[in-house]
Symmetry: C2
Subunit: 268 residues, 2 copies
């Protein structure tokens, strides 16, 4: 059993992404990883049902990655087996007019799952210290204040019942080239290719630096970051699923007691 | 000119409501106060127009009071003259099912005004450390953590462009008796009378204590509280209006420069 804790960023640790594996497979074959994933997903399904019944906790899953890092396919692999009632994915694209007229957490807060539910963020408020920083979309003073604001926001959510787990799907620049090339070579994947993605790729080092600061400053006890080696996809999915199972198991949830005594009732 | 600063709570100051006037009239006659209010409102109207044009700032006004403290009539007196486009009042009642399934700031965050607008909160997230505390609606540990969460939330809003001013409309328990009696005596005001209000009145001291802690802990540089003597209504309105004018004047707003050169254009 591979410990997920190896991939957890301890609060206060300084993250150096170059020193972190992008292609670890945990020593598992593809078949082994997929079998273990199926088991983890089955357990996650049970825990979701329990959380839904109990309505005392919510689970918020944050996924971030460089382009081609595999956010979409991770979501598909893990959550397509969940009960869709009580499980909602929110993709955060470039903010529209009304969103830009509000603080950066405004649209994010609205999408936080209610008690009982799982919410998955495909990109998130972290873009406001990533692309916003790299592309200088707001003054430096403004984005610099956001790390603390993010921590305060996530701590508030935690205190109010939301369990938060955050995953950076870590790939190398070479791996990205290969994946982008594959999209170019396959006419059926052209819709996924956006020439602007190459502009972001050209700023790879700036993005890695921005990620390192976000991961270092915002991995907290109540809302930890995991850096997941993401090039071996079955192992990547397994690690994310296991970390979620562990998070929900730690909550010690129980089926709520009925408000009536079943022994008193007779269904005629 | 009466300084509003006398009624401002300095950050870190310990508030003792018994020592704060509820019936100060600033030495002004009713006519004088009303004339000064008209002037302040006219200036506020200009500043609102400027803020709306510039779209770099928003103004959030928080009003809290014991029952009969005059929140509704303050809102009417000051904001009925504003441009309703760009000015929205949100009344926070007992949270409904979906709201209770989210953190206490969730519904409040959605109502924060976008840049350019004025938002008025008739009651607010402070109820979550007032009635929630007095009536023990959540465990003590949970509401105790909320003072810090409120400060962090308001600081984030401030950093993202929202100017916040908070007003506690302060009345005495005797004044409340008088006002409630008036509602009972006047059949046209019976709709405003709710027998449950008497239960809250019975906990007057608990509420004053809860207010004192909220005012002491959450009056910050970026989001100050004012304790407004609220029994003299024209003076109460004047103080609130003036504090808002001062807040907006401090922003040094300017009409945005046109993105074209008007001299280049000829309208045929």
């Amino acid at each position: 059993m591979t410990a997920t804790s190896r991939f957890l960023i301890s609060p206060g640790a300084k993250v150096n992404l170059r020193k972190r594996s992008t292609d670890d497979d945990g020593g598992l074959s593809k078949q082994e990883a997929e079998a273990a994933l199926a088991k983890a997903c089955a357990r996650l399904f049970e825990l979701q049902a329990l959380m839904y019944a109990e309505r005392r906790h919510a689970l918020l899953v944050v996924l971030q990655a460089m382009d081609t890092g595999g956010k979409d396919s991770t979501i598909r692999a893990i959550f397509s087996g969940m009960n869709p009632q009580g499980c909602r994915v929110t993709s955060f694209k470039a903010p529209h007019e009304l969103e830009r007229m509000h603080d950066f957490l405004w649209r994010v807060h609205q999408a936080v799952p209610p008690l009982g539910d799982i919410g998955i963020f495909n990109r998130s408020h972290y873009e406001d210290v990533l692309i916003v920083r790299v592309r200088k979309l707001v003054p430096e003073k403004r984005w610099k204040a956001r790390y603390d604001h993010i921590n305060a926001f996530e701590e508030m959510l935690h205190d109010e019942g939301v369990t938060i787990r955050k995953f950076f799907l870590h790939i190398s620049k070479d791996y990205q080239r290969e994946r982008l090339q594959r999209r170019l070579d396959d006419p059926e994947k052209h819709w996924k290719f956006n020439p602007d993605d190459l502009k972001e790729r050209a700023r790879w080092d700036d993005y890695q630096e921005a990620y390192e600061e976000a991961l270092s400053r915002c991995s907290t006890k109540h809302a930890p970051w995991y850096v997941i080696p993401a090039e071996n996809r079955p192992f990547r999915n397994l690690l994310v699923a296991r970390a979620l199972v562990e998070a929900l198991e730690a909550l010690d949830m129980k089926h709520p007691k009925p408000t009536f005594d079943p022994a008193d009732l007779r269904i005629e």
